[in-house]
């Protein structure tokens, strides 16, 4: 099963570069709904898979990017470790490469960092078919620009990811979820009050009049926090957080258009008529609304936030929040620096890239 297709993929990209053939990079295909419409010849990378190195006492793991998330996490779980950013899997085929490219993180995001925060280095193929390695396999490394973090969330427009090294963390010994009844205004205030104190809160969410808080750590720490916070116990808590992470939760999984709104966490509820599900201490909010996209984006921008059409809607339009002109100009120059012929996932992130 484990195979290193690095050279083969590199040749394919080189040929595509020569013939100016656009490529659509495809891992497990679990996030093909995400981003703008894919264009180009499919370049399958799912067979480039396998765990290259796992050093539990170094807190690092290096994996080929076609490796399924499930496989990586099973290996880490066996040694009581984890990817702290809790990667979502929208289907079981989800790979580590797609996770990096889409830059998606799960419920622990605001408490333990994002996918780019856990990345230590990677190898990729540039648009001209050159294998490049940035970062490394150690915790601290300031040699060269952090080009590897640039790949997180770039939707494959800057390089074909080959393998990546992540920092991993010990899995918390104990986990427990508390539930509270309240409205969204109270929920946002409460989540942020908790985040200002040294509590072992590792995930929060609000939906349909209920606020959820996950506590993680040693039994002592979790018990002390439970006494302090109160609330009721939640049964099937693991399933609940997994449902949010993977969008299996019944409201999140509905097929109609879903907005992902990111805001400074303490921002009070936005005056947009619709249904909301709040996560990440208030920093990530899912929205279903009949309001016009322009209005939604304006309301978010006014609060220094941004809005993504996460699922559904017009995939030929601006899926991701539009960038200011000088920032977009810089994006175009960077795209040109990594992929001068524009063959890697063209227009998947922005029409201009």
């Amino acid at each position: 099963m484990d195979r290193d297709l690095g050279e083969h993929l590199c040749q394919t990209v080189r040929q595509a570069c020569e013939t100016r053939t656009p490529l659509c990079i495809r891992g497990g295909g679990s996030k093909s709904f995400y981003g703008r419409t894919a264009r180009g010849e499919p370049l399958g990378v799912a067979d480039h898979r396998g765990i290259v190195a796992y050093e539990p006492t170094e807190l690092t793991i290096t994996v080929r990017c076609g490796t399924p998330l499930d496989e990586v996490e099973a290996m880490l779980t066996a040694r009581n470790q984890m990817l702290a950013f809790e990667p979502p899997r929208h289907a079981s085929a989800a790979t580590i490469g797609g996770t990096i490219a889409c830059g998606l993180s799960g419920p622990r995001r605001m408490y333990a960092g994002s996918v780019r925060d856990s990345l230590l280095g990677l190898r990729c193929i540039s648009g001209e078919g050159r294998i490049l390695r940035f970062g490394g396999a150690v915790m601290k490394n300031v040699a060269g620009f952090d080009a590897f973090r640039l790949m997180a969330g770039a939707m494959g427009t800057l390089g074909v990811l080959l393998d990546a090294t992540f920092k991993v963390l010990p899995r918390p010994e104990h986990q427990e979820t508390r539930v509270f009844e309240c409205d969204s205004t109270q929920a946002i205030a409460t989540m942020n009050a908790w985040a200002s104190r040294p509590l072992p809160v590792s995930a929060t969410a609000w939906h349909d009049g209920r606020l959820y808080a996950r506590l993680e750590g040693s039994a002592d720490a979790v018990n002390a926090a439970r006494r302090e916070l109160g609330g009721d116990a939640l049964d099937e808590a693991q399933g609940f957080w997994r449902g949010l992470r993977d969008h299996r939760q019944s409201w999140l999984s509905q097929p109609d258009m879903l907005w992902r709104i990111a805001l400074p966490p303490a921002t009070p509820p936005l005056p947009i008529v619709g249904e909301w599900l709040i996560e990440w201490g208030g920093a990530q909010r899912w929205l279903r609304t009949a309001m016009a996209p322009k209005f939604v984006r304006e309301m978010c921008a006014r609060q220094r936030g941004h809005a993504t059409v996460f699922r559904g809607g017009d995939r030929e339009g601006s899926v991701f929040h539009p960038l200011p002109v000088p920032v977009m100009q810089l994006h175009r120059r960077l795209k040109e620096a990594f992929d001068p012929r524009g063959i890697l996932n063209p227009q998947r992130l922005y029409r201009e890239l």
């Binding site: 290259v52 190195a53 006492t57 170094e58 290096t62 009581n80 830059g103 993180s105 960092g113 780019r116 280095g121 190898r123 540039s126 050159r130 490049l132 390695r133 490394g136 150690v138 915790m139 601290k140 300031v142 040699a143 060269g144 620009f145 952090d146 080009a147 973090r149 640039l150 997180a152 969330g153 393998d163 899995r171 010994e173 942020n192 985040a195 104190r197 040294p198 750590g217 040693s218 002592d220 720490a221 002390a224 926090a225 990111a262 400074p264 966490p265 990440w280 920093a283 936030g305 941004h306 991701f320 929040h321 960038l323 000088p326 920032v327 977009m328 810089l330 120059r333 960077l334 620096a337």
Partner: protein, 493 residues
Amino acid sequence: MEPKVHQPSIDPSVLLDALRSVLSPGSVLHEAEQLAPWECDGLSAYRQRPLFVCLPETVEQLQALLRLCHERQVPVVARGAGTGLSGGALPDAEGVLIGLAKFNRILEIDPANRLARVEPGVRNVAVSEASAVHGLYYAPDPSSQIACTIGGNIAENAGGVHCLKYGLTVHNVVAMKVLTMDGTLLELGGGAPDAPGYDLLALMTGSEGLLGIVVEATLRLLPLPASTRVLLAAFDSVSAAATTVGDIIGAGILPAGLELMDRLAIRAAEDYAGAGYPRDAAAILLCELDGDSEELDARMRQVEALATARGATRIDIAVDPAERRRLWAGRKAAFPAMGRIAPDYYCMDGTIPRRRLPEVLEHISEWSREYGLAVANVFHAGDGNLHPLILYDANRPGELERAEEFGGRILELCVQVGGTITGEHGVGVEKLDQMCVQFTDAELEQFRLIKDAFDPHRLLNRGKAVPTLHRCAELGRMHVHAGKLPHPELERF
């Protein structure tokens, strides 16, 4: 790709008049004695006077200044507090040095969102001091934190003793305003997570002043830990101490700080700071844990048991703040303490996979004998960042060169065992040759292309951080000739 050629046809007196037209009187320094204090940063072996030093006071002034330099193709170097250890703020002989010390205001502490918005000249420690009233602090704590500034911390992606648990600067900056060389103002990131588009915030962090000048930064604040404990364990051998580090992390404990010192470092620090370190130990381990107080007692007992199992000869646990400060005092004084035992020292900054520590230290001590230069080792053991301090005397002919060559070999060894030439000090002017060892030509070329996307005329901090193709080619020939180049076929991931 060849660099776009810079035309050094600057008439200094014409430039001086132009600079004075955009800055306040007294903000352009030009007399030799005014320039002298600016000729080096923390790496004082390298010195260079700039044409002029400019001290702008507002973003508008800085913007006008950059536009002017861009138009006239004048090289620019930005400088914070000048505490950097790799020559990143070394002036350009044909250019202008921009000091950002006047941008020293904390603009906003937002306790609800746990953010601090600051100007680049604000000192690192001042952010935590201003946030303490809200029970918050700024986690990255480089050892120079009382002097170094946020702008410099961002340029170098500064670390500190707590970064295994709390991350580096890149993990703790959420937004910045940046001026590029042509004076364009970019607003990157934001208080909302996962800003749209490419992660330019990460690219800017650690870019050593090559891509732009930060004029404002928004930093993430964390709640102060409920309680903290520090443990000191002494060992008869460095490898026993190093193995204990792996045991602690393997047991699922994530220390807030984990430091290792060898005998020479222990003795020098003890003589200097009187921290109560055992002078006869071969190595000591300092382990700081933070969190819930009940949890901490149990964890500390676990660490104590692990250290004892590896033959720790003495264990001290500090609970109250004064005791903790005392234990840390020796470690924090390690660098100045070297000044007592040698006229000069050269501080290395490689990072290695921790499990390779014993063999790396063995090589270092072997080379120490070969070069006739003593080495004290201070190690951020939790994250593998090694600081060998090579002791030398610059007044003895040839010693500096020997120290530099020795240092270069240590860094190349770090790359060979799967690590990096710099964990937190940056490449600057100091480690350009080692960049040729760590990266391939194609990778270095990609760095140059990134640089050109921001600064096509290569005016910002030119000659730093990324070596030219020519330099690496020359070095390659030299090294192959001397037979010292680490095996190019080695996997270096």
